[in-house]
């Protein structure tokens, strides 16, 4: 597994292109700079976790954000998972 997501799929980006609260705060304080950038400018990267607890929290946040994005995706009820048991 390669961790290098292409830029659009940054781990710190909220579903639907929304910013996290931390990113929003940074964006408001730097609004003048932000306004000068194209609409698709990448959000500022969140600071790196500094210890194992922060790291675990970041991993859980990541899983939660993924779950939120999966939940938004509507599926036909008949769609079966991509695994098949064979007798």
């Amino acid at each position: 597994m390669v961790p290098m997501a292409e830029p659009r799929e940054t781990h710190n980006q909220k579903p639907g292109g929304k910013l996290t609260r931390r990113q929003l705060a940074a964006a408001v304080s730097a609004s003048a700079v932000l306004l000068a950038q194209p609409a698709t400018a990448q959000p500022p990267a969140a600071p790196l976790p500094q210890n194992p607890d922060e790291e675990l929290k970041a991993a859980r946040d990541q899983n939660r954000q993924s779950a939120e994005q999966l939940a938004k995706f509507s599926l036909p009820m008949a769609t079966e998972p991509a695994v098949h048991f064979q007798a």
Binding site: P3, A5, P7, P49, P52, L56, N63, S66, L70, T79
Partner: protein
Amino acid sequence: MAVTIPDDIFFASITELNERLRKKEFSAVELAKAFSDRVERLGPKYNALALSLRDHARRTAKDVDGDIKRDRLRGPLQGIPFGAKDLLAFPKQPTTWGAKPYAAQVFDYTATVLSKLEKTGSILTSKLAMVELAGGPSYRYASASLTGPGLNPWDTTRWSGGSSSGSGIAVAAGLVTFALGSETSGSILTPSAFCGVTGLRPTYGLVSRYGAMALCWTLDKIGPMCRSAEDCGLVLHAIAGSDHNDPASAGKSFYYAPSFARNLKELRIGFAPVDFDEWAEPSARPDFAKALDTIRSLGVQVTEAKLPEFPYGPVIGAIVSTEAASIFEPLIQSGRVNELADQKQIAGLKAGLEIPAKDYLKAMRIRSLIQEAFRDLLSDVDVLLAPSRTTPAPKITQPLDRPLNDRPAPKERGLTALIPAGNLAGLPALSLPCGFADGMPMGIQLVGRPFAENTLLSIGKAFQERTDWHNRRPPV
């Protein structure tokens, strides 16, 4: 009198080496010794070597020389030195999975792919370094390995790519003639692109994974990393095929048959201009443009394509995290997971145990739709074409989970999610060296229908007949 093996031999193709062995320009023992010397001398310099198998190589080579002497010719791989990612079981020797908790692990059996190669007379000279646990759910730094960060032979301040890091380095630096790597999502294509070698990710189920470390049962594949598309075809021919020991085995064989490949003029190749014009690093765009021109010059029909809209990142993230956490649950519960080198990987494995079944199943249900959507897409075009990576290899100290540049993201997504998407759909892919950016190799990837490896290889072979990127050598 001892024969001196010329330097060119370390970068020769499989076919050329095999011909020279048959002509008895040198013996298999002499060749194996030269490659063993080289991998032991240069492998550690790039953190590429997990274990030298010099004694095994010498014994096998002696048998090969006996066979050649008696005209018992076994095909193009006979006598060819190769290396294997250190997640493949080889009896009575450590198989570390690139991870400290497994540093002393020894199996008493041989992975199917290594048994198959042994039958061809090819010579396993070395186990090659890798990112710990093939990357697990994710990792942040290139240093996430028992052997340290894979150092790129083109510039040792940069990463080789992973998780098949030693395999990419060893082929690029001429430490082996070919290597085996594995891919769950990008682990063959990325080091192939970053190191400037040709890598083939086979269709899911075509190559047996028996004896290979499992990271994610529904995504893991084993494939060749070589100097050329032709070499990839020869190796895949040897390692593909049904295996009752692998529950995911598709029961299919592969015969490398370039002479029976479809006429290139009949093929439709889909690509997204935004990948090459906007997503690609500006310094890479000139060579990417030339690569597109070369593809067009093959006579294929080139058309624009776009990926179906799916949340590829969250889908593959949920699947890999859940399956990896289940596989490594004993490691996590024992606390030995904390011995891993990368803090992000440790946390990702722990958090993976907490993912609810509903999220995993939702991801796997979306995956069914992804597979269906790709069936439709690949009925319009035969092959998808995109940069293997849009940026050159990053510096080894750079966090890999942060954007590699601060350029604004283009509005269109293009085919930038082709690595997770192609893996989720189980599709084969071929990465071909196609130029340089900032002095580092770049690659393009071709993705085709399930079991259409011959189509990808025929395009790759034709591309490499018109270019020489695959013959470039790093300053070893």
